[in-house]
């Protein structure tokens, strides 16, 4: 297996753009990634693109806008981990020696999708969707258990949103650059008790792209190639409505696999970008990723360690909560953010002297499987 590097990253504007097509958003991200490393569009040999809604030849539609055609293009859907799946697809092609240079794209136009302005339901043929299951509803039921069993409070959940919105204020690409108080988060509109509007990620249109290549090729384009230490993807277990819904079996397993592959421990990680679709979720993922011991996620949050300037900043980009969550874009976008920090180019939100970063995605509700039908962890290092 060959060593693979990320040499170029790019992100489109994130926000609500009902007048813009997915191809337009995707092209903005791809152009930014090409310019980031100064590579010619002609050098791209393979492309993977992820999209959840209205997907049809996504890669072809985006790449024709920037002069890339006539090469192997693969389009994927994998719930919130779609972007991570596309990134891993390109990583595999290069690691296996099939190609030397490729591009991973994630894109979503939520405002023009069939679920615009709605709560995301499970897949149409899913039993629970008919009975009133929604993503916020699921996380609200998880939140009630966190309060019941682990002594968490609604103020704790609000604190995650306050933290990530504060981070988002430092990110020019964020959809919402506005600070909120705990009171404002708690008093925002109730979506599914106890989850309020400001504890939910917004509907977002946007795209992200990353250019990967073999380490040999990388040295031609950059003096700071970012190494992909671990690329992992795993589907959920037959653990339907798992025994403790606050724990993600697939999330824990994939973290272990990723650390083994990268040859490092959670304590070696300098920053994390993760799936914080709902504020209460972030606290659970601290534990899944081994940033603290099981049951101590709430202590880690309260200690302030996960804010910018803390021991292990989590979601310095603003996270899905403030930066926004164009579903399939997020899995690429989190990796882009890690790359910026590892290069020392993250501006006001820079993690000092970051050497190792972790990007996490988890998603998908499928009746019969644990909730979180897919998980992905990537570990990158400079």
């Amino acid at each position: 297996m060959r060593e693979v590097a990320v040499i170029g990253v790019g992100q489109s504007s994130f926000g609500k753009f009902p007048e813009r097509t997915a191809a337009d958003l995707g092209a903005e991200a791809v152009k930014a990634a090409l310019e980031d490393c100064g590579i010619s569009p002609k050098a791209i040999q393979v492309a993977y693109a992820a999209r959840n809604y209205d997907t049809n030849c996504t890669a072809q539609g985006i790449l024709k806008e920037v002069g890339i055609r006539g090469l192997e293009m693969v389009n994927v859907e994998n719930a919130c981990a779609g972007g991570a799946t596309a990134f891993r697809g390109v990583w595999k092609e290069i690691a296996d020696g099939r190609y030397d240079v490729g591009i991973a794209i994630g894109v979503e136009s939520m405002t023009t999708s069939p679920i615009a302005g709605k709560l995301i339901p499970p897949e149409k043929s899913d039993l629970e969707g008919h009975l009133g299951m929604t993503m916020p509803g699921m996380f609200a039921m998880v939140a009630r258990r966190q309060m019941e069993e682990y002594g968490m409070t609604v103020e704790d959940f609000a604190q995650v949103s306050v933290k990530n919105h504060r981070h988002g204020c430092l990110n020019p690409k964020a959809q919402y650059r506005k600070e909120f108080t705990i009171g404002e988060v708690l008093n925002s509109r109730m979506i599914a008790d106890p989850i309020t509007l400001l504890m939910c990620c917004p509907n977002t249109d946007g795209a992200a792209a990353a250019i990967l290549c073999s380490m040999e090729v990388a040295r031609k384009y950059t003096t700071i190639p970012i190494r992909v230490m671990a690329s992992t993807l795993l589907s959920g277990e037959y653990k339907y409505l798992q025994e403790d819904i606050c724990v993600s079996p697939v999330g824990r397993r994939i973290a272990k696999i990723a650390y083994e592959m990268a040859g490092c421990d959670p304590k070696d990680v300098d920053l994390v970008e993760m799936h914080d679709a709902f504020a209460n979720e972030e606290i659970l993922r601290y534990e899944d990723l081994g940033l603290c011991k099981p049951g101590e996620g709430i202590d880690l949050l309260r200690s302030g360690a996960t804010q910018i300037g803390g021991r292990i900043p989590v979601n310095p980009s603003g996270g899905l909560l403030s930066l926004g969550h164009p579903l399939s874009a997020s899995g690429v976008r989190t990796i882009c953010e890690i790359v910026l920090h590892l290069r020392g180019q993250a501006g006001a939100r820079q993690t000092p002297n970051a050497k190792v970063g972790l990007a996490h995605m988890l998603g998908g509700l499928v009746a019969g499987l644990e909730h979180g039908a897919v998980a992905s962890v990537h570990i990158l290092a400079r």
Partner: protein, 131 residues
């Protein structure tokens, strides 16, 4: 007269006593599933038999939806109920007067209209607190 149509076939029934869910059981290891499993996810045996599940269980968690879901207008309550067979079921809850529920409270299954669609009355299961 509206036709009464189950929202999903073969997963619940109503008899003289009331409603109950229909799950299935692995003939080899005895593990019980709802919704029915095509084979045992635990021991992978293929021999499964249909079983009626307990009408009562305990509330594991719940939420009140304040935005519309596929078929329900807000406010609507949904929850997870742990049945004695070791099965956790998701379903709508009958709204209590003050919209409060307690984790661990006993819940009972009832068969009711879920929504109406083209003159059809779509029925399914809900859970209500046992008083």
């Amino acid at each position: 007269m509206a036709n009464v149509v189950p929202f999903w076939g073969g997963i619940f029934e109503e008899d003289a006593v009331g409603g109950r869910l229909l799950g299935n059981k692995c003939k080899s290891c005895g593990k019980i599933y709802f919704p029915k499993a095509r084979f045992c996810f635990s021991c992978f045996d293929k021999e499964m038999e249909e079983v009626g599940l307990s009408r009562r269980g305990k509330l594991y968690s719940y939420t009140i939806g304040r935005m519309a879901s596929t078929h329900f207008q807000p406010p609507y309550a949904v929850g997870l109920i742990d049945l004695p067979e070791g099965v956790r079921v998701f379903g709508p809850l009958i709204m209590t007067e003050d919209g409060t529920y307690t984790i661990g409270m006993e819940m009972e299954l009832v068969i009711e209209e879920l929504w109406r669609e083209n003159h059809n009355q779509i029925v399914g299961y809900k859970f209500k607190p046992v008083v």
